[in-house]
């Protein structure tokens, strides 16, 4: 450990940036970023997502009214399956799984060395259950 800089802040920010840059340079992250962009911008998929939202709303209203008609649920499931089965969504899910595996591997490495769960503490809801 460096004794010269007992504060160690500069090294930490340098280390964070180097780690972030290394993550971004992986094929996994590049693929994920592309998949995420397509998921956000594809017009055809947007229409299917809108349809899913509308079916979901119809189902919610039917439930509220105590309706026993099977159509709202069937149509909601169909719309869900259509969105889930869309190649862009499939690609996004697959790309995300690869990134999750990579992130978990790095977190296991960091957490093992530090003796605490780095991702949990550095995450947005860090330490909320302590």
């Amino acid at each position: 450990m460096s004794e010269a800089n007992s504060d160690g802040r500069d090294e930490v920010w340098k280390g964070v940036r180097a780690f972030a840059a290394a993550l971004q340079a992986t094929p996994a992250l590049r693929r994920f970023a592309e998949a995420q962009e397509r998921l956000r911008t594809d017009a055809e998929l947007r229409i299917l997502q809108d349809a899913l939202r509308s079916k979901s709303e119809t189902f919610r209203l039917a439930q509220q009214e105590g309706s026993l008609r099977p159509e709202p649920l069937r149509e909601l499931r169909e719309a869900q399956a259509t969105v889930q089965g869309h190649p862009i969504v499939q690609e996004f899910t697959a790309a995300r799984d690869v990134v999750v595996a990579l992130v978990r591997a790095t977190n296991a490495e960091i957490s093992g060395l530090l003796g605490l769960d780095f991702a949990r503490l550095a995450g947005r809801s860090g330490g909320c259950c302590s």
């Binding site: 450990m1 460096s2 007992s6 504060d7 160690g8 802040r9 090294e11 930490v12 920010w13 340098k14 280390g15 964070v16 940036r17 180097a18 780690f19 972030a20 840059a21 290394a22 993550l23 971004q24 340079a25 992986t26 094929p27 996994a28 992250l29 994920f32 970023a33 995300r96 990134v99 999750v100 990579l102 992130v103 978990r104 591997a105 790095t106 977190n107 490495e109 960091i110 060395l113 530090l114 769960d117 780095f118 991702a119 949990r120 503490l121 550095a122 995450g123 947005r124 809801s125 860090g126 330490g127 909320c128 259950c129 302590s130």
Partner: protein, 134 residues
């Protein structure tokens, strides 16, 4: 072959990621916040009386947490536990530890925020570590 090349590139990039993760852990461990936390934790463990009371308190809290799930914890039990915490939290070793812990947490939150901004992904959420209070 291009696929071999792509696979090699991927493996190389992941090697760099793992070594920079180790490097990050090293500089985090050397930071003032971590050093202070380690020292405070050691001091707390070394303070046998406080440490034993703390362990008893945590055991009791866990018992009450379980009991309250089936309605077996009385308001008196809860109050006794709160009073014990109130008294325990005045112990200097525990106060120092809690202060060091919250400083470390704030520091790690800063690190996490920078990481999210730099990589563009929510690291904690993707690691499956977020939302612990959900």
């Amino acid at each position: 072959m291009p696929t071999d090349e792509a696979a090699r590139e991927g493996a190389d990039a992941e090697g760099v990621v793992m070594s920079s993760a180790r490097e990050l852990a090293k500089v985090l461990a050397a930071s003032r916040e971590f050093q202070a936390f380690d020292a405070a934790q050691s001091a707390l463990i070394a303070d046998r009386a406080v440490h034993e009371r703390l362990q008893t308190f945590e055991r009791r809290r866990e018992e009450l947490r379980r009991a309250s799930a089936w309605g077996g914890a009385s308001a008196g039990d809860q109050r006794a536990l709160e009073e014990e915490w109130e008294s325990l939290s005045h112990a200097p070793a525990l106060q120092a530890f809690l202060a060091a812990q919250s400083e470390l947490l704030a520091f790690l939150q800063d690190v996490g925020t920078v990481l999210i901004a730099e990589v563009g992904i929510d690291y904690g959420a993707l690691a499956g570590s977020g939302g612990c209070c959900g």
